[in-house]
C-alpha cells in the first residue's frame, strides 16, 4: 500500500503545479507548445543517461532548450506556428527514441516513460516533487500579476514596464519543471492532458483567474485520486486512468454548466 500512497502524494504535488500552469496554457492557447516540450522530455532523459546528469535536471534543461529554439524559429514567417510545433515535437521524440537505442548499457522500459509507471514512483520522487512544487508555487505567487498581464496583452504589459521577455522565459522554465515532474507518473504522451483538461473543466465554473487556477488544482487532485484508485483495483495503467477521470470531470462541468444555463 505504501507505493500507492507515494503515487498519490506525487500526483497531488503535481496537481498543485499543473492546476495554475495548465490554466495559463489554456489562456495563452499554448496547448501544443506544452505538448512539444513534453515530447522533448524523452530526449532529455537519454541525454541525462549519456552525460550522467540528474534526470529531472536533464529534462528541464532539454525542455528549456527546445523552447528557446522554438522562440527563435517563430521569428521567421515562412512556416506557420502549428507546423513548427508539430515538427519539433516529433523530431525531439524521434531523437529521444533513436538516442535511447544507441545507449547500450542502459535498459529502460520505454512504455513507462511514454505512458507513466505507477510503481516507479518512490519516496525520493515525492520529496523532489515537494521541493519542486514549493519552488514553482512560490515563484508563481510572486510573478502572478506579471504573468497574467502578459497573457492578457503583451503590448500593454510592455508599455507599462513589465519585463515581457523575462516573464515569457520564466513561464517556459516553470512548464519544463512540471513536465519533468509529471514524466514518471503520467508519461510523455499524456502530460499535456494533465495540464489542460482540469483547467478546461474549471473554466465554466470560474469567475476569475485565481479561482480558475484553484479549481483546476482541486479537479486535478480529485482526478489523480480517482485515477489511481481505478488503476489499483482494475489494474489499468495509471497515467491513462488519471487522464480519463480528468476528462470525466470535464464532461461533468460542461453538462452541469449547460443545465444551469438552461434553467
Amino acid at each position: 500500500m505504501m507505493w500507492l500512497l507515494d503515487s498519490l502524494l506525487a500526483g497531488w504535488l503535481l496537481s498543485l503545479m499543473s492546476g495554475p500552469l495548465g490554466s495559463f496554457i489554456v489562456w495563452r492557447r499554448m496547448a501544443y507548445f506544452g505538448d512539444t516540450l513534453a515530447h522533448s522530455a524523452l530526449l532529455g532523459i537519454t541525454l541525462g543517461f549519456m552525460f550522467d546528469v540528474q534526470l529531472n535536471l536533464a529534462i528541464v534543461l532539454c525542455a528549456v532548450f527546445v523552447a528557446l529554439i522554438l522562440a527563435s524559429l517563430q521569428r521567421q514567417h515562412f512556416i506557420p506556428s502549428d507546423t513548427l510545433l508539430g515538427l519539433m515535437a516529433h523530431t525531439t521524440l524521434a531523437a529521444g527514441l533513436v538516442t535511447l537505442s544507441l545507449v547500450d548499457n542502459v535498459r529502460i522500459d520505454i512504455n513507462a516513460y511514454l505512458f507513466g509507471d505507477l510503481l516507479a514512483v518512490n519516496r525520493d520522487d515525492v520529496i523532489t516533487l515537494a521541493i519542486g512544487s514549493a519552488v514553482v508555487l512560490l515563484v508563481l505567487s510572486r510573478m502572478w500579476k506579471g504573468l497574467l498581464a502578459v497573457s492578457v496583452s503583451e503590448e500593454l504589459a510592455q508599455v507599462e514596464g513589465y519585463q515581457v521577455g523575462r516573464l515569457r522565459l520564466l513561464f517556459m522554465v516553470l512548464l519544463a519543471v512540471v513536465i519533468a515532474g509529471a514524466m514518471k507518473l503520467v508519461g510523455v504522451l499524456l502530460i499535456t492532458a494533465l495540464l489542460i483538461i482540469p483547467a478546461a473543466a474549471a473554466r465554466p465554473l470560474s469567475q476569475g483567474p485565481k479561482q480558475m487556477a484553484a479549481l483546476a488544482t482541486i479537479i486535478s487532485m480529485l482526478a489523480v485520486a480517482m485515477g489511481l484508485g481505478l488503476s489499483y483495483y482494475f489494474d489499468t495503467p495509471a497515467g491513462p486512468s488519471i487522464v480519463l477521470t480528468s476528462a470525466f470531470f470535464f464532461l461533468l462541468s460542461q453538462s452541469g454548466y449547460r443545465l444551469i444555463k438552461q434553467n
Binding site: V152, L156, A157, V159, E160, P209
Partner: protein, 255 residues
C-alpha cells in the same frame, strides 16, 4: 514648453523588407495634443508603436525622457473567452495599480458599474472607457491613444474627445493619438500630422486650415460637418511632397 516628453528624429521603419515609414520627425511636449491622420496603411499605428518602443526603428533616433510614464490605449483588445476576467481584474493588472487610484479613475470615466462585468461582455464604448482607465492608472505623463473613438456614434465621439481634452489639463500630460476623422478632433488638437508613409503636412489646425496645401489635401468643404467627405492619397512618395495629390478617407465620422 521647451522640454519635450518624447522625440522621434528622422525615423524610418522597414518591416519584412517593406518601407513603412520614411524620415519621420515627431516631438511631443507636455500639455500638447498631437493627432496623426492619414489613410489606411499610412503607418499611423506603426509610428505609435515606434514611439511606444514596441517596434524597433530601422534608422533615426528615439529620444525619450528618462522614466517617462506612458499610458497606452490600444485600438482594440480581445480577451480570450477561456480567461475569466472582470473589468476590475483587468484594471488591477496595471503595473502601477493602487486601490484608491482605481476607484478615482473608475469614477472619472464612469465605469464603476462595469467593474464586476466580464471583459468579454462589454460594448465597444464601454471597452474603450475601460482601456482608457487602464492607461490612466499608470498616472501617465504621455498618453498614447490608437483611434480612441473608433466605433462610437458621433455624440459618443464628441464626448470622448471632450473627456480626453479635459484629462490632458487635469494630468498635465502630452497626448499622441491616431484618428480617422479630422472634424471632431480639430478643436482640441494642438498639432495635426498628416501621414502617408512620410509626413505630408503638419501644423496647428488653425494655421494649417488656411494653408493652400492643406485645402488641397482635405478639400474646401470644411464647414460641411455633417457630410461625409473624401480625400485621396494616390501619389508616389518623393522626398519633398508637392501636395498636388488628393486624398481618400472613408470617413464614417461625420453623421
Amino acid at each position: 514648453m521647451n522640454d519635450y516628453l518624447i522625440e522621434l528624429r528622422n525615423v524610418s521603419f522597414v518591416r519584412q523588407g517593406r518601407a513603412i515609414l520614411k524620415d519621420v520627425g515627431l516631438k511631443i511636449h507636455r500639455g500638447e495634443i498631437v493627432t496623426l491622420i492619414g489613410p489606411n496603411g499610412a503607418g499611423k499605428s506603426s509610428l505609435l508603436k515606434l514611439a511606444l518602443g514596441l517596434e524597433t526603428i530601422s534608422s533615426g533616433q528615439r529620444i525619450i525622457q528618462p522614466d517617462l510614464r506612458i499610458g497606452y490605449m490600444p485600438q482594440k483588445m480581445t480577451i480570450p473567452d477561456t480567461l475569466p476576467l472582470s473589468v476590475k481584474h483587468f484594471l488591477e493588472l496595471a503595473k502601477r495599480y493602487d486601490k484608491s487610484k482605481l476607484m478615482s479613475v473608475s469614477e472619472r470615466l464612469s465605469i464603476i458599474d462595469l467593474l464586476k462585468r466580464p471583459m468579454q461582455k462589454l460594448s465597444g464604448g464601454e471597452l474603450q472607457r475601460v482601456l482608457l482607465a487602464r492607461a490612466l492608472l499608470s498616472n501617465p505623463e504621455l498618453l498614447v491613444l490608437d483611434e480612441p473613438v473608433q466605433g462610437l456614434d458621433v455624440s459618443g465621439q464628441a464626448e470622448l474627445y471632450h473627456l480626453i481634452s479635459d484629462l490632458k489639463d487635469e494630468l498635465d500630460c502630452g497626448i499622441l493619438m491616431v484618428s480617422h476623422d479630422l472634424h471632431l478632433v480639430m478643436a482640441a488638437t494642438n498639432k495635426v500630422i498628416c501621414l502617408n508613409g512620410h509626413i505630408c503636412c503638419e501644423g496647428h489646425p488653425q494655421t494649417v486650415q488656411n494653408d493652400p496645401s492643406y485645402l488641397e489635401l482635405f478639400g474646401r468643404s470644411m464647414p460641411a460637418h455633417l457630410a461625409p467627405y473624401t480625400h485621396h492619397h494616390d501619389h508616389t512618395h518623393d522626398e519633398h511632397c508637392q501636395h498636388d495629390h488628393s486624398h481618400d478617407h472613408d470617413d464614417k465620422g461625420a453623421q
